[in-house]
Each structure stands twice: as C-alpha cells, then as structure tokens.
C-alpha cells in the first residue's frame, strides 16, 4: 500500500441543522479534513450550506476539552484521570439519591447527541436511577411540534419527506427563515419553483431572507399563526375545498373544531384583523391553499417557540387533515427541525414527558419498558421539562445535574437565573467537547471530555425521519471518550454494569431498535425493529433509511397517513381547536424581542465560531429595529443599543431594518459571554412556556432599548485568543470576538478614554516592536505590535464612537509573513498601501465573496444574481446568500 495515498473519504452527516445532509470527509492526516457534500445522500444530494461547507475550519483542537477535570476542595478545576472523575460522578449521584431520592437527579441533554448516546443517558436515568428528569435542548426547539403531532396523530410522526418539496406546487413557510436556517432545503424549494412553478408563501413577522424570495409574503403579527390557519380552515369549509371522505374516514372532532374556528375567525376580515395582515394578502393566501392540491406547509421555530406553539402546530395540521393533504407526494405538514438529532432524541425518549421509543408513562408502557430493560427502579411518571427543571434546581429540589453537549447557561430563557441555579447543585457534571463555554464557567464539579463531530460514531435522524450514520474520520484526541461510554461506566459503578455492557454503538443501536419493536405490533409509529439484528458490519455500512423499518417495511417508508392509520387509540386523527389568545400588554417594555439564528452561525457558536469564513457574514451580536422605531430613539445603524427586559440586558449593535415590524426587535441567539461581553440574549428572554409542550416562548419577550453611548469604538486584531479575564479591558468596555484567518478580531467599545486603552495595552506583554498613535484630545489611540519576524501579531485601533474603524483592510495581515514598509507606514490608519481588493461583510461564505465585490460586479454591469454568480461564483454553491445578493442588486438599482 502506498503510504502517501490519501485516506478514503468517509461518509458521515453534518452536525448542524435537522436537514441532516450527507458529508464526505477526507482526513488530511494533520488533524483536519476536506469536506464535501455527499452526492449519494438523499437529504442533500451533494449540496452543503455555508456552515456545512466550512466544517473543515472547525476541527480545531485548541478549544477542545481533552481530559476529565475535577473541582478540588480549593474550588479549582484540575485534570483528573477518567477513573477518578467517573468515581466522583457515581458517588455524587448515589449520595444525592440516597439523601434526596431519585427525583433530585436530572439530565439535561442535547439534540446534538447521537442516538446511541441519547439512548444510554435515557436508559440510565429513567430505568436505573429512577428519575424522569431527563430533558433536552430540543425542548427549546420543537417540543411544540412533538406535542402537536401527538395531539393530532397520537404519535410524534413527521408524515412526509423531502421529496415532497420537489413535488409540491405550493410551499408555505411559516415561522421559518429556511433560506438561512435550512439552506439546502430552501435551494430544493427554489429548484422546484424553477422546475414546476411551485409557489412560495412566507409567513413571518420579519421580512427575512426567505421572505425576499417569496411569491407572497405575509408579515404576520407576532404569535397569530393559529388565527391565520384557523381562518384558513373556515375558508376551506366555506369554499367547499375540504376532503369530506378523508375527514369522515380518518379523523374526529372536525365539526367542533370548525365551529370554534368560525367563532374565532369567521371570515377574511376577522382573520386579517387577528393577524395584522391586509385582507387582500390573506385572500391571496387562502386562494392559493384552496386551489393547490400539492401543498406542503413547513414550519419551525417561529411556530414552535411560542407560548401557544402547540396550538399553532395543530391549526396547521387541521388544514392538512381537512383537505386530506397528508402523507401523499407533494403534500403534507412538515416540521423542519433545528438540530441534527432532535429527532433521534425524540425516538429514544430523551424528553421528560416520554419514556422511551415513542412510549409514554402509561402503566402499560412503563411496565413494558421495565421488562425490556430489566429495570426495577424505572421512573413511572413524567419529569420536569427543561425550564421547569432549572426552576426545580433553583428551588433546591434537584441536587444533581448532568449536562451533555449543550450550553444552557446561554440558551435557556432567563439564562442568568439558570447560571445562578447551576451554582446551587451538589453535583454538576458537564460532558463537553470544548473548554470555556458559559456553562463550563458555572462551576461544574466534573468536566468529562466528550467526542466531537468527526470522532463520534453512531446514528442521527433528520427532519424526514431518515436515520443516517455519523461516522468518525478522526481519532479520539487526548483522553476524549464517547458520551455513551462515560454513561455506561457510571452505570457500572452504580451496580448496573450488566445492563450497560455495550462494546460499541452498534450494540446500543440494536438494543434501541429492538425496544422500538418490542410488543409493538403496529401500535407505535416508531418501529425500527427491522434494524435490530444488524451485524456490526451492516451497522457500519448502514445506508440512510427512513423509519419505520419493520418486517412490513424493510426499506423504510417515505410517507405515513395517506390512508389514515393514525396512532390514536381509535386510529383517527384528531382536529384540535386552538385556544383563544389574549393580547398581553407590554407595560414598560414597548417592544417585542424576537430571537433566532443568522445564516452562518449555529447555536452558541462553539463550532461555527471557530470558522473565519462563517465569522465574516455577521461579526457581532446585533439588534434589528424598524427605522421608524429607531429614529425617535436617535439610534443610528451600527451604533450600540442596550436592550432590556424584565429579566436581563444585552448591549448589541443596531441594525436598522425595514423588514422588522414596528414595535418589534430581533436579536440572534448565538453570542454568549464566551465571545461577547454583553451579547447573550438568553438572559433577556422570558420563560413563559407553552402549556402543552413546555416549550418556552423565545420569540416575543417584552423589551425596551436605548442608545448605549460609548466614548470609544474600534477593534482589536490578534494572532492568538487574548484572555480578557486575565487582562480585563478598561471598565465599561463592550466587546465581541470573531474568528479570522490567522487569528481573531474583537469589535470594541467603551467608556474608557484613549489613555485607558493605552494603559491596558501596556499590561499585555506585547513584543517590543510597536507602532503607536496617540491623539488623546481627538479620542484616538492605536497601536500595532510585530514579532521578531516582523509579522503583525496585534493591532488595536480605538477612536471616537461616532466613526468606528473597520478591520477589513488589516485582517489579512494576520496570515501574512511580513508587513511591507508601505503597509506598516499607514497601518494604523486602518488601511494598507495600494489596492487591496474589495471588502465589507462577507455575503457568500462558500466562496468568500464580500459585499464590496458584489457592488463592483453590479457597477461592472451585472444586473442579476446569475450574472454575479457567473462572474464571482457568489451564490452558486449553497445559495443561502442569494436573497442577500438580490437585496444588494435592488439597493444598487435605487439611487440613494
């Protein structure tokens, strides 16, 4: 064998959203890998979005947790051998259970765990420790879809598949910025439009990038989706567009539901009034739905993350059930999940209100699982859902918590309270693959180094019920171990070794598959018993497959429910009327704060934050506000504003955005204390939860905002990640860090005088070779430092807040081996000598095309996205920037 030949490409799946794209990873032998889309994977057919395409930039070991750590008596975390760490976890759990009972133990899991890890955690907690306090960050993501599915179908079943998007004539996207959050699916929708004229309707309070491409955009009032679909149900009935045969054969409770819908939204005008829409827009939407048989309604967090999320889901399902448009090619309701394995977590039962394998806590189900697991201590009742779980910790009822693969100190609502609660635990175990996230900063007693993407070995399930292998292509670094292994080791220390004696993930998967089929006989939707006897080799080579996979459906099933067959006791789907929503006053908080994702980041950025490419699109936490709201507050685009709710505050860069509704704000969820001083919006978000799903309403927190006047603004570039805790910035400083090629950039602002920044720099122990600009009366202090080879290692440019400097021109020096005398001469002006090519925020992350280049292409005569794509390649890969390119084109056409 030729030792120089490159390693073969490993087929795996992307660790980000729920589309579940297939990825081909080719290790480069230096700890990294070349990443490409897997053309053979049915979820993406070779496409990747900007985030997936940049995965190779995130395989950075320098942020990895590589060894177990334990907090000593002195309060300091220190490296520890696995044995000691596992002993500490086991003894801590035993002590809490002995003293306070099993309900004092909780697990908070993650939609990024593999199914096998999830299964092991769920089995240990519910079966052997006897606590159902097992919940997951999926509670924040699609719990309302789960609850809605179960109310309507009797099971948590996604009826359709991605191919329906190719075959639909109408795609409705409600509460879903698909173009940014599920870009590969969105390109599929756009391709369908090109191929068959599929119409796109986007329903969203914000004019998002997705809305930019819509045939019809409905800027709905916050939280009123249920009213819109309720009005639609009335319209369908009035227009004779129902499917009476389906309704009568396969559903129940239609008449009552329609009656309630008529009471709530009797006609077009009432619907328009309830949704804040113009009647003509509503009518156009109703007509499209009425007249288009092949209709898919996709929804995600805008529907789910709501105090009435479950009702919204059912209002949507009602319309599909009423028209029989479900489980057939090109039609159906479609929950787009946000995480790579939220579906897998649901399947194993990694939620406090599920037991296992889509079984709940009925005595029969508890008994069945108890027998299967041989688990005498099995939990017999639902546990605390995420928000309530942390409330119980704060009340002192839960004493031991094991967090795996998630960052609740950032992502949970009222996150500052969550942090305080974490400090009250007798035992706080955190399984992580990074050091230094905000949850790790909340004083865990034990840190366990978990395998990361590229090392993990197991399965995930995507939004269309497709189980795919996530395969390792890198060795486990340091003392890193898979989560299931750590769980099994703790189980063994607690005397349950026999039930956790797995040799590898294939053993766990077979057990999981067997449980799904155990005493099933078609009574439960989730049945992968057809995979329960896979050999290790067959597991290793398992091709993506959609569940159920049973004796009846050996190859899996693309769709369910076309002919009924629901999993309610009587087999009929249930219509559920949404409850009436009372408009809540906002009191001292005149704005509604909406939160969500941006195109190139994901969750709390522990992975996407490592990629310079992904950092280029949006570099700092921001708050979007309508120009008419900004003007009276004196807020300028790019200025800093302090956003405040009853629960917390954040300081964010202002983005004036006419796509915001008046009275609403939007802020991204990604920033945390690990990458910004005041960017974590979870601290502001209220913890109102949906009564059915327990999912918190993350998208409508009453808030206010005010300018955050700063004396200085500017930026810092450095080749290494500065430890701002060790060298605190001048008092009153604001910062947000982004990854750059060759280093990091910090946007800075502060109350400090220029001299304060100069004094701070003196504490940094920089190289002697420095250049400095002092204009203290003018408010400027700037400096750059060079190493012995003359390379730029540090640059700080601070000036008056009104005209902040941009780092675009200088950032490239972080990867250059020398600074030319010409560049060095004017470096502190924030410029480089000669023409350097266009800059500005990155628009196309896949090909690294900044806004400036697109403006130049327009100036050179390009008049559409195709022309720009031909010239610059921008938008020709994942296409998630196409709406933005369209917007730039539009702006360029309108003379300022």
């Amino acid at each position: 064998m030729n030792a120089l030949s490159s390693a073969p490409a490993i087929a795996t799946t992307c660790p980000y959203c729920g589309v579940g794209c297939g990825v081909k990873a080719t290790p480069d032998g230096r700890g990294g890998a070349l990443i490409a889309g897997d053309a053979a994977h049915p979820a993406n057919l070779g496409r990747l979005c900007s985030k997936g395409a940049a995965l190779g930039e995130t395989l950075a070991p320098d942020t990895r947790l590589l060894h177990p750590m334990m907090r000593g008596a002195d309060g300091v975390l220190a490296e520890a051998p696995w044995d000691a760490a596992l002993d500490r976890v086991a003894s801590g759990l035993r002590a809490v259970i002995d003293q306070h009972g099993p309900q004092a133990v909780a697990f908070y899991l993650s939609g990024q765990l593999l199914t096998e890890d999830y299964y092991a955690a769920n089995k240990l907690a519910k079966g052997f420790l006897g606590t159902a306090n097992v919940d997951t960050n999926s509670r924040l993501c699609m719990a309302s879809s789960v609850a809605g599915h179960k109310r309507a179908f009797g099971s948590d079943t996604v009826p359709g598949c991605y191919e329906d998007l190719d075959a639909a004539d109408l795609i409705i996207l409600t509460g879903s910025n698909t173009a940014w959050c599920h870009p590969v699916l969105f390109r599929r929708m756009v391709a369908a439009r090109a191929a068959r004229g599929t119409k796109l309707v986007v329903i969203d309070p914000r004019r998002t990038a997705t809305a930019e491409e819509a045939d019809l955009f409905l800027p709905i009032a916050h939280g009123s989706d249920a009213a819109l679909f309720s009005g639609l149900l009335v319209h369908l009935a009035d227009a004779g567009a129902l499917d009476p045969a389906f309704i009568s054969a396969h559903t129940e409770n239609f008449a009552e539901t329609l009656t309630q819908a008529r009471a709530a939204t009797p006609d077009l005008a009432a619907t328009a009034a309830a949704t804040g829409l113009v009647a003509e827009e509503v009518a156009a939407f109703f007509a499209l739905f009425r007249d288009t048989h092949r209709t898919v309604t996709c929804y995600s967090q805008g529907v789910n993350q709501s105090a009435v999320g479950t009702d919204k889901v059912n209002a949507i399902l009602n319309c599909h059930l009423a028209t029989g448009r479900i489980g057939k090619p090109g039609m159906g309701p479609f929950s787009l999940t946000g995480q790579p394995n939220a579906m897998g977590g649901r399947e194993v039962g990694g939620l406090a209100n599920q037991l296992a394998a889509h079984m709940g806590f009925s005595p029969a189900e508890v008994d069945r699982v108890r027998r299967f697991w041989d688990a005498p201590a099995i939990a017999a009742a639902e546990g605390h859902k995420a928000v309530q779980m942390f409330d119980a910790i704060a009340r002192g009822e839960i004493k031991a918590l094991w967090v795996m693969g998630t960052n609740p100190a950032v992502s949970l609502p009222q996150a500052r309270e969550v942090r305080a609660a974490l400090g009250m635990l007798d035992l706080f175990v955190l399984s992580e693959n990074v050091v230094g996230n905000d949850t790790a900063a909340c004083a865990p007693h034990v840190l366990l180094p978990a395998a990361a993407w590229g090392e993990k070995d197991g399965t995930v399930t995507n939004s269309e019920r497709r189980i795919s292998r996530q395969r390792p292509f890198l060795p486990l670094p340091g003392a890193v171990r898979p989560d299931w292994w750590a769980l099994a080791q703790v189980a063994a220390r607690l005397g349950h070794g026999a039930a956790f004696a797995w040799q590898g993930p294939a053993d766990i998967f077979r057990e999981h598959a067997a449980l799904s089929g155990f005493e099933n006989q078609g009574t439960r939707d989730f049945d992968i018993s057809g995979l329960a006897t896979l050999s290790d080799a067959a597991y290793e080579s398992l091709a993506p497959v959609q569940w159920p996979v049973s004796a009846e459906a050996r190859e899996g099933r693309a769709r369910l429910f076309a002919e009924g067959g629901f999993f309610t006791p009587n087999g009929r789907a249930r219509f559920v009327a949404p409850a009436r929503v009372e408009a809540a006053g906002t009191g001292d908080f005149p704005f509604l704060l909406n939160t969500g994702r941006v195109r190139d980041h994901w969750h709390t950025m522990t992975r996407t934050g490592l990629s310079p490419r992904l950092a280029g699109h949006i570099r700092a936490p921001f708050v979007a506000i309508h120009p008419e709201d900004a003007a009276p507050l004196g807020l300028q685009d790019g200025a800093l504003a302090r956003v405040t709710s009853a629960h917390g505050t954040a300081t964010l860069e202002v983005r004036i955005d006419a796509g915001q509704q008046i009275g609403t704000l939007f802020a991204p969820i990604h920033w945390s204390d690990a990458n910004a001083s005041d960017g974590a919006v979870g601290a502001l978000v209220h913890k109102h939860t949906d009564p059915h799903s327990g999912q918190p309403d993350l998208k409508a927190t009453p808030a206010t905002l005010a300018p955050a006047p700063m004396r200085s603004r500017g930026f810092l570039l450095a080749r290494r990640r500065l430890d701002l805790a060790a060298a605190p910035l001048p008092a009153g400083s604001w910062w947000a860090r982004a990854a750059l090629d060759g280093g990091f950039g910090w946007r800075l602002a502060g109350e400090g005088a220029p001299q304060d920044w100069a004094d701070w720099v003196e504490r940094l122990n920089l190289p002697e070779d420095r250049t400095e600009l002092f204009d203290l009366p003018g408010g400027h202090y700037r400096t750059a430092a060079f190493d012995a080879d003359g390379r730029l290692v540090f640059a700080l440019l601070m000036g008056p807040a009104e005209a902040p400097q941009a780092w675009d021109a200088l950032a490239g020096l972080l990867v250059e081996d020398a600074v030319s005398p010409q560049d060095r001469r004017i470096l502190l002006s924030g410029r480089r000598a000669g023409a350097r090519g266009p800059c500005g925020p990155l628009v196309c992350a896949c090909f690294g095309v900044p806004r400036g280049a697109i403006l130049e292409a327009i100036a050179a005569g390009d008049r559409d996205a195709a022309g720009i794509g031909a010239r610059l390649k921008a938008g020709t890969n994942c296409g998630s920037c196409l709406p933005e390119i369209g917007q730039i084109l539009q702006e360029a056409r309108v003379p300022a």
Binding site: E768, E772, F774, D775, P800, R825, S829
Partner: protein, 450 residues
Amino acid sequence: MGLQRVETHENTPLTPTLSPAGRGGFPPYRLPLESPLHLSPTGRGRLRSRRVRGLPRVETLESTPLTPALSPSGRYAVAVVGAEQQLAYNRVLLSDVLAGKIAVAAAQLKPAAWWRDRGVTLLYGNPATAIDRAAKTVALADGARLPYQHLVLATGSHPIRLPVPGMDLPGVRTFRDLADVAALMEAAKPGTRAVVIGGGLLGLEAASGMAGAGAKTTLVHLMDRLMERQLDARAGALLRQAVEARGIEVLLEASTARVEGTDHVTGLRLADGRLIPADIVVVACGVRPNADLARAAGLACNRGVLVDDTLSTSDPAIHAMGECAEHRAAVYGLVAPAYEQARVLARRFAGEDALYEGSSVSTNLKVSGVHVFSAGDVTSGPGTEDIVLTDRARGIYRRLIVKDGRLIGAVLYGDTADGLFYLDLITNRTPIAALRADLAFGPVAHNAAA
C-alpha cells in the same frame, strides 16, 4: 549667546538692481562687460530655479525668482551684483557638497550662458559698497556705480562667530559658503579631530559632513537637545541617537568658553573646564541678517531691513527679501520664504498687485539617512493638542500640533515624506476635523478620506 535663527544658510548675497529697458530712462546694462570673472564658471547665490505659474508672458522664464520680471518684451534691464567669486549656486546643497554626495559644479544654479541668454548682467566678485538713494545708484567695490530704478536687497546673513577668545585662530571656520566648504573638505580626513559648535540644522549637517569624511567629530551644543527650536524632547533624543550612531560625539548643555591654541586651533575649552582636542572648529551656531548696506543708506532696520507687504523698505524704490529682510517682525532663515518673497516681488515688477503676507516655515535636516522635518509652531502652547505617531523599530516619530481645529505645527522624524503635505495644511489653515483620524498618515489617508 549668538544663537539666532540657525535654520538656514540659504540666503544669497545678491543685490539685483533693475532698470527699465530703454524707454528714455537708463540704458540697458551692458556690463559686467566681458570681465575675466565672467569666465569663472562656478556657482554663487542660491535661489533655486523655479517655475512661476500664472504669469502671462513670463512663463518661459524659469530662473531665479527674480528673472520673471524680465519679460520677453524686455521691460527691465537686470543686473545682479554679488560678493562671491562664482556664479550663483544653491546654498542649500552645501552640506551635500561637504558630505561628498554631489560635486561642487552640481550646486550651481544655472550656467553663465543661461543668464546671458536672458539678458541678465552678472556682477560677481564685486561687492556693492554703498547705496546713494538720492542719485539712485549703487557703488561697487571696483568703483563702478550702477544706476537703478528699483533696487532689491537680498544680502542674506552673516554667520555668527561666538564672542569668546580664540575665534579668530586659524582652523576656526564657519559653514556658510563654498569657500568654507572647500576649507572643511580640505581639513576633514581620517585622523582629523573636528569640533562643531551648534546643534541646529547647520551644525548637524556640518558635523555629519565632517564625520562622513572620516574626521573624529564632536558636536557641542548649548541647549539640552538638538534642534531645540524645531524638535520636541522625544524627536531630539531620537536625533541624538541617530547622530551618535554616525560616530559623532554629542555634548549637550555644553557652553563654549574659548578656543585653545596659539597659531592654530588645538582644542575647545568648555565652560565646565573640559577640553576637547581639535584640529578644526566649525562654528555653526547662528546667523544674523546682513543689513549693512541698508543701515548705511539710512533705511529703516531692526534685526533686518524692515519691509512691508509689498516688500518695500522705507524707500519705495528699494526692496528687500530673504534673510536680510524683516517682515512683520519675522526674519526668515529658510529658503522657502525667500522664494515666496521673490515670487511676490517678481509679480509686482511685472505689474501685478501681489502682496507678501508672511510664510509658514518648514525645516528639513539634510543628513544622510536621518530624516527630520519641522514646520510651524512646534511649541506646545496653551490650547494646543498633540497627535503623536511612533514606530520605535523604524525610528519613526511624528508629532502634529493642532490648535482650534487646524494644524499649526509638525515634527517628523525618520519619515519626512509627508512634510510638504503638512506644511500646506499649516499654510492654508485647513480645518482638519474631517481628516483628524488619519492626519498622522499623510496624504495617502487624506486622499482616501476625501
């Protein structure tokens, strides 16, 4: 002490006289006749050739700033009278000559034929001795008397010799003209011990030239830093380092007590008693305006010949410019104001209503590899704000002094390429609020901001 404005050695001892051509007045000058001196093709004077824009009918006349007055129509006959024995040369270049960077010939402004072709009569090596204002004539050393309609005094300065014993010993030289340079070049060779008195521009250039020629050179300066009028302490310290790096010993706060020696200089005695052995002493500690002719003629004088904005003296037929002139209480020791004055005067002779309202001055030290520029008011007076740019490794220091939203002074050390940019901002009193963030980076950033 005679530490007057040391900045320059660029004043020419020219005494041009102008006479209307023909038209019933005086005949055109026909002399300096084919005098033997005329054959000496060396330089003298030093007002560099300059293009004068915006003057119809004279635009082809690129010569000294005075020659534009010689319109092609021959409005005036022009004679130039000078004491030195050679054709006008560029005094600014003397330090380059001393440093061996250029030949003597290269310092010459224009060849004799150039002047002749333009009808300018050159009378050099023949000093003017007196002005008869009533008769409107100038007496020359050889007894000739030149009539004039307009007389321009550009007699420059005298170098200062310190009032201490031994200053007249052989081996004590000033650094003012080509004869001085020739003597210094003759003396400066490896093994020679040279002492230069004066840490201003001229002294630094002299010391650099001496050291460059191999002399063991000591620079003695009365003040606590070099070029104290142009530089702040930081730039002065950088300059001292650079000068010392050239092998020049720098003694600051060193007051000269006497020059030692009997028939030739043997050393310099400082007030603190130290003795610096020396084979040659260069006195470069200042100049004073040469207003001798004017004073003798009864023209109003103070430090220099007093002139108004038309550059007229108290006698409207007599004008003064350059280092000998005192305008609005300022005596300029630099070349640029002399050019500006010359342009104004030339335009007035050409019939325009030009006025001279003063100059912003800048200084360039011309020591090989050491770049120092200073312009405007560099003292940190009340209400001033400093913008300071440093690059330690590259030896770059730049201080810009801002007052009331305008640049009033600039000190550039190590990188002086942007000096004229700042001088323009100072001269034009350009509001700099919009430029301020980038001001320290010169026109590159300025253009980008525009």
